[in-house]
Symmetry: D4
């Protein structure tokens, strides 16, 4: 509600066409409307294909089931991340079209057709053990309406595999690089492309990787310009951000 | 050089219109051309306004002066980051139009007019002590040809200051949030916007901030979707990435 | 025992009205009495409603049962923290009026009516996963005789939810802010109120949250004046301290 | 501005006694007024004796001088923390009644008489090297209008010195414990009192104290109920919070 | 493919003895051939006795079984590291000559006789708990064709045991030192020999060993010249590198 | 073997009373004898009551049983630390007089009467959860022949309990202080006694205690002179060292 | 003051031979006397040769000078640690017999002859850079009246140098091992002796030694029984503790 | 001295051709000779071209000058690492042929011609700021008699520069990779070669590189087989080890 709208409201009050009680109520809500918080939320529900998202870790099967049941009464697609198979089976009883991706640990319920972008997001993965995080990113980006190209198992220890996929990587509008161990993939990819690169460190590794710290530090210290980093194992965050950028 | 071009080259050899020695030389260079590394570099020099960038920290005044003198023989604009005033004064002798930003610690030599984008990057800063990092980001983005809006001193300890600037922040195509201490600014801004957010932790603070670690961890753990992080104090990296996204 | 009392005792000895043996015994105990340790302990048992508290983690069901059985012979209310359901069931056999809060993991045995304060403590929680810690704080404060207002799920990623509860938060005499992940809630709340704020980092999160370290550092580095921090997940400590302040 | 006031404003508009433009302007400001941010600020300036506070570290002498000169045009007392003697001398030229505490590194300009509370804050310090932090806390509390009792050099290595001051410590409404090295003072004091204890770790020490980390961890892990912690060396924060609690 | 070969190819094209399509295909592959990645891989398969290696941790029994079944169709020996007994039993069904080393947790399938080197690698181990890592190193080196001497249980707490084996250690061409706890073994051995020493920290220990960090730091800071370090518990890496050096 | 003995041996050779072969053999062994390693070992077996010690953690029941069976053929007492009840039951079959201490997790087999020292070691423990570590220290000291006084549950949160035991603590020749959480006990005890103090940090606690790091740092930074520290949870090490000192 | 003494005092009061005021005064002091704190202090001043100790770091030249001047009015020897040469020169003006040890950075003023023990403390040092810490330990032990043997430059990288001094090390009643870098010296020495070993990590080194952390962790994790550790660079603490043990 | 030699000595004693005193003296030295420590030292002095090495950091100009003066009386070449220019100038006065490498901070005095190996060591460097460490490695290897090839400024951010030098890198017998920032160079090089790779992390970088920790962790976690790591900035250690391997 901008200055113009406030004046119009007041004109209505003055002219008697707007009840004072009604006007007062509208103005009381004004702080939040003016900050636009509600708008964002409404916006989300209105836009076709924009999914409702549930972070399932730390929730009980019952809780997840209840949330999905509620969401299922609406038109939006649904995405559950960090979901167990048990959660999926419970949901499936009520949403027969729910799907489970065992690698990404995601539950998706598609209630509307998703129209994909023409430009695409490249999800580049170092090793097969990094796939769960990479798939979480890819599934997230897809349900948000993005075309995704997966380039897997191109860790820097065998860098020729990466080069054979360079054309595809360079064709993307935004690139996600997922790597554990020493996380060098993001530095190498970052030096080869001229597009925003979202680096996702994973907790894959042992010894002095300290739960993903080694990959995280590598990626933060990358000399390649155009790189930024999300939290360790945060495939969802990378997919969501990539979608934002891809749709600009 | 794609399949088509290779075949054309070979047709020329067969037809005798292309010397074998010349053809051989072209094909020897092929690995690098095919990987396109050189292309990027040429591309950089050709595009008007794309600057040459020097990371001055750890270099001597003499070294920086020599590099700038060489760059000055070309047409590109020049950006030096982490530069001291001494470096600037040495450069000024030979490049009278060199400029120094004391806050951002940048040297800029503008040799071509920079045409700014219509969309803009918002650089949001928590405290006045974070300004050097924020200005480095802003100056970098500007010399790369981006319109920049600066929103300063809007740390979360006085959150109403942030809200009074919300309209400007939301109008940006991409937002940079710069904060030291506890770095909470990025979480709050990230929750209020629907655009990519680049969070820059700074080393500003004392005690248990451990050289920026506190702000870094805060930003990596931010619950706000659409956020990614660059290295502590890396204003340049944030400005460069924001430019990439803004120009998509 | 102050100077006056010592002199009186000595007068009694001189006058022969006090046996030397008895006087000697009293004076031998004097170090502790003078330090007042015992007084505190007696004080606790005498004051109505002041609970006996058991930290159940690391104790066996049998041990907890024995302690509660002993306490049950007295008049004080009983609070057990970090208790399992198994402990509760064992206790219930002997104390039928024992109650278990599954979220807070607390056992309470109310043997006396608790008269609540008029002023209240606000317990503000970022996410639903932080509820166990928040509830531990709330239950602790309540059994200590404080009125408590719970404000849940107001993390900074959706800051408008927080603002809609601002009136209630500001009305409190002391505020507890419970948050995991990046812990930014305490900074935002601290900037909005003019009352003591007790920040409780939780171990909720993943990746670079390092078991609550990220939230802890955020809260310690908060720019908001009037904030102090307790140990990670220490809901009890926050509730106890809030009670102390609320009853001043 | 509550519902009643909004209705009154609208009645004025309807009745024609309030100009639409004026009413619109008032309502535009409403979000902030309704959130009450401005009120706090006005409140601060209105209350006699409430000081303006400057964190001087990282600012130039010139900047500090300018800020103080501006503040000097108002009626509030002024407190500068982490100030150098050079800053003080520059300020003294314009504010002859400015005072400098070399130990606390504070500049104070008293423009109004400060009426002290009857209840007092006890500032307990472990070693003489911890005095700068302790004094910062004490000076802060005093300029905020609190009576302060200083108990110095009572580290636990000679615990009898602490016990000889126990009466004074126990008489306080709130206690601040300042300690570096291993920081055990807060645990011992916390076990001896029944009042809120604010623990301030200092960076005093060497070797495995890691810039105050050892004292910080000690204090966070203290078994004594009623203890909370502020950032390493944050004497100001402790003094400010103690004042809040003391004035409840 | 060097300059000479490229010219020959072009001569063939010119002479019409080489089809343009075929020549084009060869040249398209040239970038990778020129980088020689494939050569390495071919080289590996051709050299007798060079094993295929599988890192089994984080793979399912089924996955490991499938990989081994595929490898079993070739002539190379097979080494699986970090393998469980369950994996071995599954593999044994199809490869009856598969062998399992319970200590080293390795599966080996020998399909060709391994001809050992004359020079040998000494694997020196501090305590019996470090044996799994040491055996992984030894088995790796052996299947790569190296003669290995094992010197076990010679931790520095009983340094005379180490000295009684000094002759054997000094006779080696390269030495691997495996130690957990404080990892001092590598410093002592490094000071006694004049050969390359590969230090392997293990995660064996408790308390302040922090998962092998103590041994890692010890080994990195060793004053003995000629020492380098691999990741914590990385027996395979040490065995592989030692083989490289031993075969120079 | 000193100069005198070497000369005597040579005189024997010269005189023909000592066979050259025998003399050569003796001289070959000389390096080790001269270093005295063997002497220590013999010494251990010869001294009555000096136990054989087994660190059971990370060993199988079978391994522990075998080692104890072998030791049981000798005359020395036997001490097994970090032993499970399962290990004890297996051993009991063959050594019916084996004893198991459930708190300390020690197995002891007394084959000779242990004559205790007159001076004693005081083992002071902060909380009941620290008892396993404290008991390991006490049992170790006792089987090594020391009189031990246990002072339990005297954490600094209720410091009067500590003072009521001060006489006993001060009477010891050497004191062991065992504490988790913030570990302040060692600082307080160290300030009250004039004897060597061995501080044992335990991993007891939660949140920011980081597996015992908080107590470890506290103890290392203790201002009390005469204090030294062993590894986290290393009760055995403390008991062994205390025995060494007590028997000087 | 024990029970007997209290009774005697009371008898005196009863008999009228002791004034009530005087008796009251004595009894008021009783808490501290009973705890014996004062006794320790008196004890210190009475024992010949027991020095007064000043930790000079963080004090001004003036402060140190004042403290020494005061101490100089008494009979005790004086030890200043972490002293600068400037402090020494200032002190020398008033105490002409003050001595400065440039390596140990200690000031000593010997006012009484020090009678040395017959048994000695061995101070074993790894490298020449560790000498300042080692000398601080040695000087401290000497002024406390202990005979000291220095064994320098016997780091494990050239372990034969250590063995050539083994006789001297083994002859000591207690051994101090000082080492930076990887700190392995303490493990090796600990395995060769049967006496208490005090390990002192130093901050000497670079890279991953993290200010002495590597040596600290090595020493804490040492497998050699009978070892304990003091803070990084804490030569004084080691010397003081060694003296305590040597004089038992 | 082996069994044969001992017998021969004894025969001499028996035959009277060897004095008992002389024989005794020889046998007394036997422990060290038998352990061979002395042999190494003699060996060093005897072999032509093997340099004497001084670690200059932490030594005074005077100390370094004295050591070099002493060494200059012998025939060996001399290498001083971490030397300042001031040290060089002082040395130059007495050794006019001393040379100083400003980048590597090394002083070399060549007293004998160095015969280089035919095989060479490749020293690969990521950025120009890493050159001091790389040069220290190269100079060390050269004075030890190795041919060295330097490949500089081939960081992974512009990976094509690395590939253009691949032939040279692959031709080496052993490769040293020097990199700061994120240290990804070692992973990439390690994946491209089939030779031992020594990775040297440098402290070059800022923010979350934590003094070289990021590069160190990257290199330790490298997936490329055949890689080992030395301490941060330890160019000397890498050069020394590479020489050992190159000369096998």
């Amino acid at each position: 509600m901008n200055s113009e709208e406030i004046k119009m409201l007041l004109e209505g009050v003055k002219a008697g066409t707007l009840e004072i009680d009604l006007a007062a109520k509208k103005l009381e809500e004004l702080p939040y409307k003016d900050l636009g918080f509600a708008k964002i939320d409404n916006h989300r529900e209105l836009r076709v294909g924009y999914p409702e998202i549930i972070y399932c870790a730390g929730k009980t099967v019952e809780q997840v089931k209840t949330i999905v049941a509620y969401m299922n009464t609406k038109d939006s697609n649904i995405l559950g991340t960090r979901a167990t198979k048990g959660m999926y089976l419970a949901i499936k009883e009520e949403c027969p079209n729910a799907e489970y991706n065992e690698v990404a640990r995601t539950i998706t319920v598609k209630k509307k057709e998703i129209k994909l972008t023409e430009s695409y997001i490249a999800v580049v993965t170092a090793g097969t053990s990094d796939l769960p995080v990479a798939e979480e990113a890819a599934i997230t980006a897809e349900i948000l309406g993005n075309k995704v190209e997966r380039i897997t198992d191109v860790g820097v220890a065998g860098i020729h595999r990466l080069f054979s996929k360079l054309e595809v990587i360079r064709g993307a509008k935004v690139v996600i690089a997922v790597a554990g161990m020493e996380g060098a993939l993001s530095s190498v990819v970052g030096g080869l492309i001229d597009k925003p690169l979202i680096a996702v460190p994973t907790s894959v590794g042992y010894g002095a990787n300290f739960g993903g710290l080694s990959a995280l530090l590598t990626m933060l210290n990358s000399c390649a310009s155009g790189t930024s980093v999300v939290n360790i194992d945060n495939g969802f965050g990378a997919g969501y951000l990539a979608s934002m950028i891809n749709k600009l």
